[in-house]
Homo-oligomer: 463 residues x 2
Amino acid sequence: MKQTLIRALYQDNPTLVEETIKVSGWIRTSRSSKNFGFIELNDGTYFKNLQVVFNDTLSNFETVSKFAIASAIHVTGKLVLTPEAKQPFELLAESIVLEGASTSEYPLQKKRHTLEYLRTIAHLRPRSNTFSAVFRVRSVAAYAIHRFFQEQGFVYVHTPIITGSDAEGAGEMFRVTTLGVNEVPTLENGKPDFTEDFFGKETNLTVSGQLEGETFALAFKDIYTFGPTFRAENSNTKRHAAEFWMIEPEIAFADLNDNMDLAEAMVKFVIQYVLDHCPEEMKFFNERIDKGIIERLEALVNADFARITYTEAVDALVASGQTFEYPVSWGVDLQTEHERYLTEYIYKRPVFVINYPKAIKSFYMRLNDDGNTVAAMDMLVPGVGELVGGSQREERLDVLLERIKEIGLSEEDYWWYLELRKFGTAKHAGYGLGFERLIMYLTGITNIRDVIPFPRTVKNAEF
Amino acid sequence: MKQTLIRALYQDNPTLVEETIKVSGWIRTSRSSKNFGFIELNDGTYFKNLQVVFNDTLSNFETVSKFAIASAIHVTGKLVLTPEAKQPFELLAESIVLEGASTSEYPLQKKRHTLEYLRTIAHLRPRSNTFSAVFRVRSVAAYAIHRFFQEQGFVYVHTPIITGSDAEGAGEMFRVTTLGVNEVPTLENGKPDFTEDFFGKETNLTVSGQLEGETFALAFKDIYTFGPTFRAENSNTKRHAAEFWMIEPEIAFADLNDNMDLAEAMVKFVIQYVLDHCPEEMKFFNERIDKGIIERLEALVNADFARITYTEAVDALVASGQTFEYPVSWGVDLQTEHERYLTEYIYKRPVFVINYPKAIKSFYMRLNDDGNTVAAMDMLVPGVGELVGGSQREERLDVLLERIKEIGLSEEDYWWYLELRKFGTAKHAGYGLGFERLIMYLTGITNIRDVIPFPRTVKNAEF
């Protein structure tokens, strides 16, 4: 008999009632008395379990009663509605066959485990309620990102993971090599000679696909990337991972306002999509992980995001009289405490802050006419602070060259990036969304290690 | 005035006829005489250009006439149908404004360029017809992959890029490090001491997400990965890149037949999706790159794939009397020449070959009852050979341990992989599809460097 998915039972309920069906899955919990028992069966296709009822008409009743948690089994039986019970239906087992046994050593017993402990069994934790919900939401949110962009004709670009330069200058990088340990030849000047390395030069893991993305935006107009990026920062916090996924759209013939419109629409779309497509998971987060999260997400979807300048933001923070750990004045970078205060207390809704001092932003951001600020934008949301960061890009060759010189970067490293400004340059803009931060925002999970299947952090690359 | 996309003109044709619209894009070609001229304008949103007609009623007629190829411009004008011309409509310019100039040094002039040359200007080549078509197909095919799996409830898993072991044993790897060059401390036994490295141990770039994928399949039943993978093989061929994207689905409570069903359905879905959604690009490939490719792709979509054993395949190859560069006999690995002969001449349709000798396949493939073969499968398609490779996985702990010992691998390296077989093991299967190989198959492009935005190969990591 063909396997019926538990998802289909819940979603097509109750078309299969009174029919004999076969389900296959893993025992989440099991209890039995002398002549009957209950199994909570999960087959991975749905957040909820199916209740299986069995009794001593089964020839292997005694054996079934003793199946360990996590055992894989096949159950054939009749589906019946149970309007008086908390579950909508149950399966009356006519046969239960073991597919793969488990043992009492199975680490995910019914008792609650700490998230820290569950990280040490990352190969098993997706079988728990919390991680089953997190990783399904992660999957659905990833798809929502693709849908959002593809339905508007954006071209998805796989920008390179291994890069031949640290041109982005966005943080410390991992070196990629095939040379033997301590066997790198040196040049006469004592510097390492990478000509014998795989790529014939020093290479690193990318910190951003933006610059390459711009080359595609100036061909396709609207593009996005969605791939892994890396930071070798030695920071052991809840918000940092060495390996994480990033979404970086880039749009041509577009300015900072278009960029904000896009970011706002994207965030709203993805949140609404997850609320619509993962109702059981979201209910779980709302009850067990972060009370009120559904309401907060719905509020965001319905909010009209504020748009203020950095200068207005600083003025408002100063005028608030609030004491911050890091004092605020024009020119300082906004800290999470400032960002949260702006969105949670002053504006009480998501806020775009634009036009930051050029000194605290990247060289590729478009210089405003005031000569002091650049057309940068950060999207701040309640509970998190910055969720999206982006800018209009400097499309004027002379201004860009000036900035590169000013900051002390090397023109030659950017020859192809500069050529985009020589051959049909156009206004363009883009932003980056850290995918894990979005998942944390969607689920209420507060440690980045708990939204990545196999997280990589300082001193940790298990599995 | 809001920008109208050229895609919208072609797709919603002719709702905007006789209206005044504004388009923005890049000049592909331009020619003019004394008092009128034509511009082929491409805005990146569609494969085809829009013909812009301008004349000396424009106050800047002389200037416009001299705009260099690749210049970015804004054109306002009236859209008129041109039923007698080869293009369906044209835009009668009332105003043409320069957004960003280009120069005569622009390397992509109208003459044909070799693909080799275009690789040296990877930042500009997406503006050519060929690469505009290739990279849009790549984007649409990637989305088709996601749609195929998501619509069936598969969970998308981001398996790790940086791995702490070379456990997959699928080829040479890139080492990832933050230690200074030639500054790795050594242990007393002379071996390198990686405890000071970022992750506290030696780490590499992944060659496959399969093993981690299996952990998720045994929680969610149906999962897939889609991410970059790496091979540090020093092979400078048309089919090898150091960095490429791979799709690896894994399904639980499923055997080799389910696996073949899934792979066949996926390949057919993606091909049909690209044929449906990229008609102009496919027409271009059919005419300019690989004559007959549309017909071959349609044949594949409608074919009933053959399913034969390795033993039958070898017998058929031997019986064919064909002379091969590599002679065939039971036990040898099939070469591309054999694979293509099977699918092109003997079976004349796509073929799954299953049950290969265990000696030439990986340790994790399920041992068949004959003790000599494993439940592996390769999908062979005309013109290419192997497109998909997979297997049913060894779900029996004792058999798997035996194989690990036999091959000389270390049990400890696989502790978490082995635990999947201790706690509710279940029949499961999966496969890998090299995304670039699929794109080559879809486009007729024969060099992998030409289907990757910024390819990484031996001695090459430009951009």
